[in-house]
Symmetry: C2
DNA sequence: GGTGTCATGTAAACAGTTACATGATTTT
DNA sequence: AAAATCATGTAACTGTTTACATGACACC
């Protein structure tokens, strides 16, 4: 599952340019691809070569010309094939867990401040995501089912952050239960 | 926060060779570094050059000679400095969410099978982690607090998987609530 | 005799990000 | 006058993974 799938899916929704794709990919938080130029334009050439897309140059009066890409029948077949593929397990890359691993070197005040910092970071992410969803929100609703799916995807992300918040609270409780002696 | 921190932390626990570090890093699931040779041996040279480590060659009769690395005072200071650093937000890279995004192209049977696959993957990861923790378990317990911290780190990972499982169940419920028409 | 462990290192391949390049138009 | 938007592309850099290289010993 690579960015090729996301591009095919978006072009399955509607034909658009690399520039459009870039913007949507960049502010869709659950796409794990940064959506930089290199990635997008290379992907489009590859999908074109594979016969999954066609393109058409559109000249515009007050903006530069753009290449509008359209998905082909072979592209739809590929999209369906990838959609059915065996799911990959999620990868969590939480540097904070590694940081905690040696946090016993800190005083209890410093450790407390560290957990504060993590909670603040989680809250910031949660807010960022809520805002992003309200403002931007490319969210296809071609069918009731598709709307439910996209809703569920966003819920997954929110759940993750809420879960982290609960865990941090339990960490504090666990630390509070330890008699303070040498770590003042 | 890079692999340098993990290496300093491990050598703060006890002096050891690159080979030992490699094994521990590779099967500690919450360290987000693969621990391949390139990474380990390069890091050790860098930490040595920075004055955070010293090393000593130990000749062995029935195995190849090894370089045993020991943390210096400057290394301890660096470890503490990194431990206090501002936490970074966790990165989730869940390809399954991207996969779901275009799963409305599937029949409800295929979508159901897809969710089955994800749940199976989550269960497999959960079991893998439980097993890894039981078997291997490099888990420092120099103080009661350190034991609590490591316990909490593992709980974080387990919580994540349990949370995913609950979310998948809610996704199924949401899909069941949708009247089936065109997506048979 | 083949496979696995101990042990250190390098080289090549691949993926990803940032920065560069161009240039018209629009907004501050 | 400067900065941002639209629009496509390339180059350079960084980071990561896989594979290669060596060699003794132990286990089946």
């Amino acid at each position: 599952m690579s960015i090729h799938y996301a591009v095919l899916g978006l072009l399955g929704y509607r034909s658009m340019s690399g520039y459009d794709l870039k913007k949507i990919i960049q502010d869709t938080p659950f796409f794990p691809w940064s959506g930089n130029n290199n990635q997008i334009y290379k992907t489009l050439v590859e999908l074109l070569d594979a016969g999954f897309l066609t393109n058409e140059v559109q000249h515009q009066d007050h903006s530069p010309s753009k290449k509008v890409y359209t998905i082909t029948d072979a592209g739809w077949a590929e999209l369906r094939r990838l959609a059915k593929a065996k799911p990959e397990p999620p990868e969590i890359r939480n540097l904070f867990l590694a940081q905690l691993a040696w946090a016993d070197a800190l005083s209890s005040g410093e450790l407390d401040a560290l957990i504060d910092g993590y909670e603040a970071e989680i809250d910031a992410q949660l807010q960022l995501h809520e805002e992003q969803r309200r403002r931007n929100a490319f969210s296809p609703r071609r069918t009731a089912r598709e709307a439910a799916i996209w809703n569920s995807i966003h819920e997954n992300i929110m759940d993750f952050y809420r879960n982290e918040r609960r865990w941090a609270a339990r960490l504090r409780e666990a630390l509070a239960r330890i008699p303070e002696e040498e770590n003042a």
